[in-house]
Point group: C2
Chain length 162, copies 2
DNA sequence: AACTAATTGTTATATTATTACATCAGAACT
DNA sequence: AGTTCTGATGTAATAATATAACAATTAGTT
């Protein structure tokens, strides 16, 4: 018996277990290399986020963390999220006040986020051409960028083909 | 005696009064054309937003509206903001949960927002090349975009030259 | 063992936003 | 003029998101 969430993940016909393993292993390895601690709580929060490719709300994470960490409070979640964001392991989706796993933690973290209004899944794209044009634009404007958020809302390819 | 806010506006050496007049006149005209009502409250909120080129928080607007509208409550502000956003007269800055006037209300509304961490001013850029590359990327991804938020945080040209 | 820095526990509170229902004002109609 | 409809606003309550401050604990270092 497969949960709805699992089904959602399979619509893109990827092996989600493998997808998660890769993300968690990579996260662990990056933290080791960087000498920062992927503690139990942080790992659990990251795992919860990776349960789907949808953006998750902080308080929803809190509810789902509580069975594992009875003492969990808002600060518990927000601290874990802060850490994961700092380490580039997750994206904060600004336009949703929500969070989603980052598939390219090791490499460049600044990406296009494509947010589907139907299935709610968030896709990341490196979008090299867009980024190049963006850098050029920023250069022209004399603007020194520290962070970039590019979030597109709409209907994903999978959903529009249905 | 000039207020700090006014000084900020002059750092880009533009006539802010003229800048505001243009925005408000255009807003009024667009609303007329569209047969929607730019009511007193909505106009006041729009004016407050245009007092600077910084992104303003909803509750700050509320405080500043109250002298003009004693009965103003959160819903008052959020309704006005919803209207102004719908009409493309302001931008919601997702990464700040704040609002800023839109200088190109009549034309395309989806733009690059450059948000300075020092002076806090928000600059809009049509960034045609970026948008073209973005459309191409979305096309490739088969993603039907409904809305786009591109927000860059950093240091603006004016501030870095100081 | 003692010290230090990082992490977590805990409480309280701040900030941002929405919902629901009542009231009001103006336009359109009879 | 009265009636009805619609859109806008008044009002109260509450939901949802996020942070601050300080205490306690844990992990690494000396």
């Amino acid at each position: 018996m497969t949960s709805h969430t699992e089904l959602d993940q399979h619509t893109f016909e990827h092996n989600h277990n493998q997808c998660v393993s890769l993300a968690l292993d990579t996260a662990q390895q990056l933290c080791n290399e960087r000498g920062v601690q992927l503690t139990t709580i942080r790992f659990q929060v990251l795992s919860l986020i990776w349960e789907s490719h949808k953006a998750v709300k902080a308080y929803e994470l809190l509810d789902r963390l509580r069975p594992l960490q009875a003492a969990a409070k808002p600060a518990t979640i927000y601290r874990a999220l802060d850490f994961l964001i700092e380490q580039g392991l997750i994206h904060r989706v600004e336009s949703l006040n929500a969070f989603v796993g980052c598939r390219s933690s090791g490499q460049q973290h600044e990406q296009l986020l494509l947010i589907c209004k139907l299935c709610e899944q968030v896709d990341e794209r490196a979008a090299t051409d867009v980024m190049t044009a963006l850098l050029e634009e920023l250069q022209q404007a004399g603007f020194m960028a520290h962070s970039k958020a590019i979030e597109i809302h709409g209907i994903c390819a999978n959903c529009s083909s249905k």
